[in-house]
């Protein structure tokens, strides 16, 4: 339909750029207020999106070629001559002509940084694995004059902590590497400029009065370090020719400034997960303003986002091959949270939210940045369907419930890593890996002794927990096992909290993230994020003990090494309350037990049900369990039902997971991954999108917290495993992140293939 009367051209609007709408964000550091007063919600479809520019395409081709070359040769490039630091490296470029957004961690793309502060041994092992050596003198000086976080922790560990760690009861602890999981509010760099942030922090420092308690001394020292970090950040950007002392004025500057903020974080830290935050709605304000003023075109807007995402895809950290064993595919968890709703009922989806997702089309599917859609029932329908379509096409998105998180965190939180929510710039978390609750169940049966590890001195099974009476019954009695298990969990909780306190005390002392914390409020709320692996095994085991007959088969040491199960029993993943309630009770019990032990710096205890890909390694380290799982067999990832046991279809499986409580219990996230076969989710492509949207809506309405959705065939994966060259970019969601399938180890590939594929023939 044509419009009858066009408004005559107005030549006056093409140059003037309107000022942002005023608000309290001008008086104090308050990015949320700026967003709320200035953003434009977008409820339409993806029709406005455009292809990548020539520049972007050429740049990405170069970048991709470099990445493929490193994957092919298995060799990495490391800046060997110096240690990490915000301003420690010369500027690096991939192609100055093509790069619209600049900045690499070191002085060249894909060149990794040596960060010795988390743990020196980790660095040495990593370099050794790649046949590299750091510049002469560096190691000697560091070891002579500095101490790492790792050394600090081991100076303070107790024998019990060491035992729990070496038996694999507590694993993945950040005691030898950077803890990560902290999200700086990188938007502050663009909105305020560093000069303003430095001034504000100086004022915070000056205002911090009171007696010099240990706590206050530490706080003052940290504020001073933060000021120095901000100054370094400014110098780092100046090397690239930018003055980020002042606020960003254009869309291009806003994107560049935010990226500089993040770049400082990944130059300074080698954290396990270095997440990006929630930036698209913020950036959209600058982009829409420039578009409206005719300063940029849609193609240029997309170019900014594409080029930002290229940079995010090229983030690399130096890690050991063993780390890769645990977390496959060289993940960096550059998690960006997208969408969600504002507390006033408007959607936080903007055009730039879609531009960001659109990079999966312009640049192709990829695991990083870890795109996390904050799902709400109230999200615009078009946006939901767009996401569902991208999931079917690229498998690169994860979904988390905004409706569960918004009441707890408001509308300016982001996800760190996979499922950890925090208010941006206001909360941080002490990352705590996870405890193996399946192994803990075996401890309840075996009197606190480990079923795999032998004590070197005695040649007997290693005693990890003390004072637990072994169960000697011929048939396991539910009440007895439950009572012992509670004892184990109580003891484990105390040990776990103490271990975490030790780790984070030392991390603050030896590897403090001054740059990231400078982009927080001066006073932050801290979470201590505990984790659990093996919840489905525990639920099924308890169910078997309760509803079937389970006879332990004991070895000469009286250790239950196998179990004979007679009769059927309800299994987690079928929406069967008899067993789902057991999963819930265990999670709640352990969460409560943890909370009884005070956490370092007054942190609030949270708990996650998340394994990432480490479910394979957990399996290796855990003996046969009473649910029928054999020793060495992988755990189910995250909160997933065990492979093949969720036999009532996807909805029943989702319902079981959705029953696990989030708020106050598993408040560091509950991870779930499902795989469905394309042809079973609808006969026509349009139906598939609708159905997937409906499944997501339904799951989150049931109270589900997180879900990764893979729409793929087992045959497709087997083919990709046998012929990796045919599909180099096949991306799949594992637990909480995505990986290139062909960068998984064979073992991990087989595990993924063995998972339940919901299909009907």
């Amino acid at each position: 339909m044509t419009q009858m009367n066009q408004v005559p051209e107005n030549t006056a609007t093409t140059t003037a750029v309107p000022a942002f709408r005023p608000g309290v964000w001008q008086e104090r550091i308050d990015v949320r207020n700026f967003i709320q007063t200035n953003y434009t919600p977008y409820e339409g479809d993806d029709d406005f999106l455009v292809d990548a520019t020539e520049k972007t395409r050429a740049l990405w081709a170069k970048a991709d070629a470099m990445v493929q070359e490193q994957v092919r040769t298995g060799q990495v490039d490391v800046a060997l001559d110096r240690f990490s630091g915000i301003d420690a490296y010369d500027p690096g470029y991939l192609d100055r002509e093509l790069e619209v957004i600049v900045g690499f961690q070191a002085d060249a793309p894909l060149r990794r940084i040596i960060n010795p502060y988390g743990g020196f041994r980790m660095v040495e092992n990593s370099l050794k694995a790649y046949g590299l050596e750091m510049a002469p003198g560096l190691a000697e000086s560091f070891n002579e004059y500095r101490k790492s976080h790792n050394q600090g922790v081991f100076d303070a560990y107790t024998p019990a902590m060491r035992a729990a760690r070496s038996a694999g009861l507590l694993t993945g602890l950040p005691d030898a590497y950077g803890r990560g999981r902290i999200i700086g509010d990188y938007r502050r760099v663009a909105l305020y400029g560093l000069d303003r942030l430095i001034a504000a922090r100086r004022a915070d420092r000056a205002a911090d009065s009171g007696p010099a308690t240990e706590e206050r001394i530490r706080h003052r020292e940290e504020l001073s370090e933060q000021i120095r970090a901000l100054e370094e950040m400014k110098r780092m950007a100046a090397r690239y020719g930018y003055d980020i002392g002042r606020p960003a004025e254009t869309a291009a500057e806003a994107v560049q400034w935010v990226y500089f903020g993040y770049l400082a974080a990944i130059k300074e830290n080698n954290g396990a997960a270095m997440s990006f935050g929630r930036n698209t709605t913020f950036l959209d304000i600058y982009i829409e303003r420039d578009l409206a003023a005719g300063r940029i075109t849609e193609a240029e807007a997309q170019e900014l986002i594409d080029q930002l995402v290229i940079k995010l895809r090229l983030v690399r950290h130096l890690r050991t091959p063993e780390y890769d064993d645990l977390f496959a595919g060289d993940p960096t968890w550059v998690t960006e949270s997208l969408g969600g709703m504002a507390t006033d009922g408007r959607t936080l989806v903007t055009r730039t939210t879609m531009r960001f997702l659109h990079t999966l089309t312009t640049l192709g599917p990829a695991p990083e940045p870890n795109m996390t859609v904050l799902w709400s029932e109230d999200l615009p329908r078009d946006f939901k369907e767009y996401c569902a379509r991208l999931t079917i096409q690229t498998g690169s998105i994860q979904y988390e419930s905004d409706d569960l998180m918004r009441p707890l965190y408001g509308d300016d939180y982001a996800i760190a890593c996979c499922v950890s929510a925090m208010r941006i710039g206001r909360d941080m978390q002490f990352f705590g890996a996870r405890a193996n609750l399946a192994k803990a169940l075996l401890y309840a049966i075996n009197g606190g002794r480990d079923e795999k590890r032998m004590d070197r001195a005695s040649g007997k099974p290693m005693q990890v927990l003390e004072g637990i009476e072994p169960i000697t019954d011929e048939v396991l009695d539910y009440e007895c096992v439950k009572e012992r298990y509670c004892q184990v969990l109580d003891q484990l909780a105390g040990l776990y909290v103490d271990t975490m306190n030790t780790i984070h005390y030392m991390h603050d002392k030896y590897a403090y993230e001054a740059g990231q914390m400078a982009l927080h409020d001066p006073e932050v709320h801290r979470y201590m994020a505990f984790g659990v692996a093996g919840i489905s095994i525990v639920a099924d085991s308890l169910s078997a003990i309760r509803y079937a007959e389970v006879r332990p088969v004991r070895d000469e040491n009286g250790m239950a090494m196998d179990f004979e199960i007679t009769g059927g029993f309800p299994q987690y993943g079928n929406d069967d309350e008899r067993v789902d309630s057991l999963a819930r009770e265990v999670a709640k019990y352990f969460s409560d037990a943890l909370k009884r032990h005070p956490a370092y710096r007054g942190a609030e205890h949270t708990l996650s049900l998340l394994t990432i890909t480490s479910n394979v390694v957990y399996g290796k380290k855990t003996g046969t369990t009473p649910d029928g799982r054999k020793a060495g067999e992988p755990f189910a990832p995250g909160a997933n039902p065990m492979h093949g046991r969720d036999r009532s279809g996807v909805l029943a499986s989702l319902n079981s997971v959705a029953k696990l409580p989030y708020a106050g219990v598993c408040q560091d996230g509950i991870s779930n991954t499902i795989s469905v076969v394309p042809r079973t989710i609808g006969r026509h492509p349009g139906e598939r999108i609708q159905h997937l949207t409906g499944i997501l809506d339904g799951y989150f309405r049931q109270g589900g917290f997180h879900v990764n959705v893979n729409v793929m065939d087992r045959e497709m994966l087997i083919d990709a495993m046998e012929h990796p060259e045919k599909n180099p970019n096949l991306t799949i969601r594992v637990s909480g992140y995505a990986v290139h399938f062909n960068r998984l180890s064979r073992e991990q590939q087989l595990e993924v293939i063995s998972r339940t594929f919901h299909t009907r023939v």
Binding site: N5, E577, S648, A652, T759, V761
Partner: protein, 545 residues
């Protein structure tokens, strides 16, 4: 039924899924009506519209050669699980949050119509709970229950195994006459829902156009009850179970049906069916009188203005960039009246979503759309929004209301940021009432609205989603369509929800039909707002003979 494409992968023992504390416990006598369940699939996305939980009932009188769930054939089986209708309802309630507007529970099998009493109670409970139902049948149930069961079925998945008595006997050891009887007596038995025809295509048996023609003729008497025809390509996964049960597999050596070919033939069959229906109507054999379709009045054409537009002086007639002399109605005013109007006119800047008059408001102003678009709508008794009309630049609303002094009986809401000129009743009375050009325009517009209303009634009164969708799209094509080399391009400011509302369908159903039309090659769409009609004749066949 245990035909291809409708059995669960893992042959789940329903006990695991039912979460029923009583499972396997209490004696049947204590529990009232009992169903014998083969298995349950909580997420069925192929057995009826939307997301559905599929309950496979035990028992089937047929012995289809390709049956891949032969263990579901006996009515009583060791492996079967007993469930009460209340337990079925409880299970459905657990999945309700996924069902959306179209989804619900599907009863398959086996042949679900064999367990009439149980099925009847389940359907009744589900309907009372507001959950839609589908029954997947091959037409060989217990006829004593048809009168009770069929009125409660929203979607009937009707399997057509073959198209003549001989093939029927060969393939499934059943009587074609029984099937025909079943199909013929559906309406008589009180069935009021829609039908999805399904046919398992075996290579060498029915994989050609001639067979599809016969399929179409077989189901043609069902007329507009049929929503679509699904062709399920034969696969060989049933062999294993036959072997395990020690049964011979009669189709040994038959390769699986090529999926692409099956898909081509599905498109062919759907198209053919609609064409045949239309032809039937032409000869008076149709079941429904089609809505009359005529050329729209040329309301949108800008007619010659009585004022020659002089670019030098046009400034003074400009208001917010709009040359007021070009607006309909007012361009017929005398110069004197026009000048007076300049002071009376109010320009209303409305933002997308703004409601600028409501039902019950006095009609004291006339609204003329200068730029943008708005809709008028009201709420139906069940609380849904029903769009009555959409106004575009040059359209006006309120003329007749001003003439008659009636209040508005609908709401006006902007679909995009719009500029709307308003004229007071006082000015209208003084300058427009006696102006024949203006009155004529008001009459024309009123007439146009009445005709749209008639179309709306005919759309809403049809139960067939295909007709509703096709008709709406053609109306839009007529009115707003722009001919392009690729087809008729319609650009709309309505989202799917609003389009569905206009068509009298839920958003999900409308979107599904649109998707089906795309698959059939009738149209294409880009994003949600641009529809490209590629084959208007095919759409027309839905409602015009």
């Amino acid at each position: 039924m245990s035909e291809q494409g409708t059995t669960p992968s893992a042959a789940v023992a329903a006990a695991d899924a039912a979460a029923a504390p009583a499972a396997g416990g209490a004696a049947a006598a204590d529990r009232g009506t009992i169903g014998y369940i083969h298995s349950i699939e909580t997420m069925g996305l192929l057995d009826g519209p939307g997301i559905r939980t599929v309950i496979f009932l035990q028992g089937c009188p047929l012995r289809c050669a390709y049956c891949h769930n032969p263990d579901s054939q006996p009515l009583r089986s060791e492996a079967a699980t007993e469930m009460t209708p209340a337990e079925v309802l409880a299970l459905a309630e657990r999945q309700r949050s996924y069902f959306g507007e179209e989804g619900g529970v599907t009863f398959s099998g086996g042949e679900p119509l064999l367990q009439g009493a149980f099925l009847y109670e389940c359907l009744r409970l589900l309907r009372d709970a507001g959950i839609t139902t589908a029954v997947d049948t091959s037409g060989f149930g217990d006829p004593n229950w048809y009168r009770q069961v069929l009125p409660l079925v929203d979607t009937l998945l009707l399997d057509v195994k073959a198209f003549d008595a001989e093939r029927f006997r060969d393939l499934i050891q059943g009587s074609f006459a029984t099937w025909v009887n079943f199909a013929d007596s559906l309406v008589e038995n009180g069935f009021e829902g829609q039908i999805w025809i399904r046919h398992v295509m075996l290579p060498g048996w029915s994989d050609d156009e001639a067979s599809m023609d016969r399929l179409v003729e077989t189901v043609l008497p069902l007329g507009y009850l049929v929503d679509r025809i699904d062709i399920l390509p034969y696969h060989t996964m049933g062999i294993e179970k036959h072997t395990a049960m020690g049964r011979p597999y009669r189709l040994e050596g038959l390769p699986p049906m090529d999926e692409t070919r099956a898909w081509e033939l599905e498109r062919y069959a759907n198209r053919r069916f609609i064409e045949r229906l239309a032809a039937g109507r032409e000869t008076g054999a149709g079941t429904r009188t089609p809505a009359p379709r005529r050329k729209e009045a040329e309301m949108n054409q800008v007619r010659e203005s009585p004022y020659a537009v002089d670019p030098d002086t046009s400034q003074i007639w400009l208001r917010d960039g709009i040359d007021l002399r070009k607006l309909p109605l007012v361009r017929h005013l005398s110069i004197a009246a026009f000048e007076e109007m300049m002071s009376d006119f109010r320009m209303l800047q409305v933002r997308k979503g703004d409601v600028f008059f409501r039902s019950g408001d006095p009609a004291d102003r006339l609204y003329i759309v200068a730029t943008g678009q708005f809709k008028i709508y009201r709420y139906t008794v069940d609380g849904r929004e029903q769009i009555l009309y959409i106004y575009n630049p040059g359209d006006f609303v309120g003329g007749l209301n001003l003439l008659t002094g009636h209040r508005y009986v609908y709401n006006g809401q902007a679909l995009e940021d719009s500029l709307i000129c308003t004229m007071s009743k006082d000015f209208f009375d003084r300058h427009c009432l006696d102006n024949p050009h203006i009155l004529r325009q008001i009459l024309e517009k009123s007439y146009d609205r009445i005709r749209w209303a008639e179309d709306l009634i005919s759309r809403l009164s049809s139960a067939n989603a295909g007709i509703k969708t096709a008709e709406l799209i053609l109306r839009f094509a007529d009115r707003y369509g722009v001919q392009t080399p690729e087809g008729i391009r319609i650009e709309l400011n309505l989202n799917r929800e609003e389009l569905g509302s206009y068509a009298g369908l839920s958003r999900e159903t409308f979107t599904r039909k649109l998707g089906e039309f795309r698959e059939l090659g009738y149209l294409d769409f880009s994003g949600n707002r641009i529809i490209l009609v590629k084959d208007p004749d095919a759409l027309m066949a839905y409602f015009e003979g």
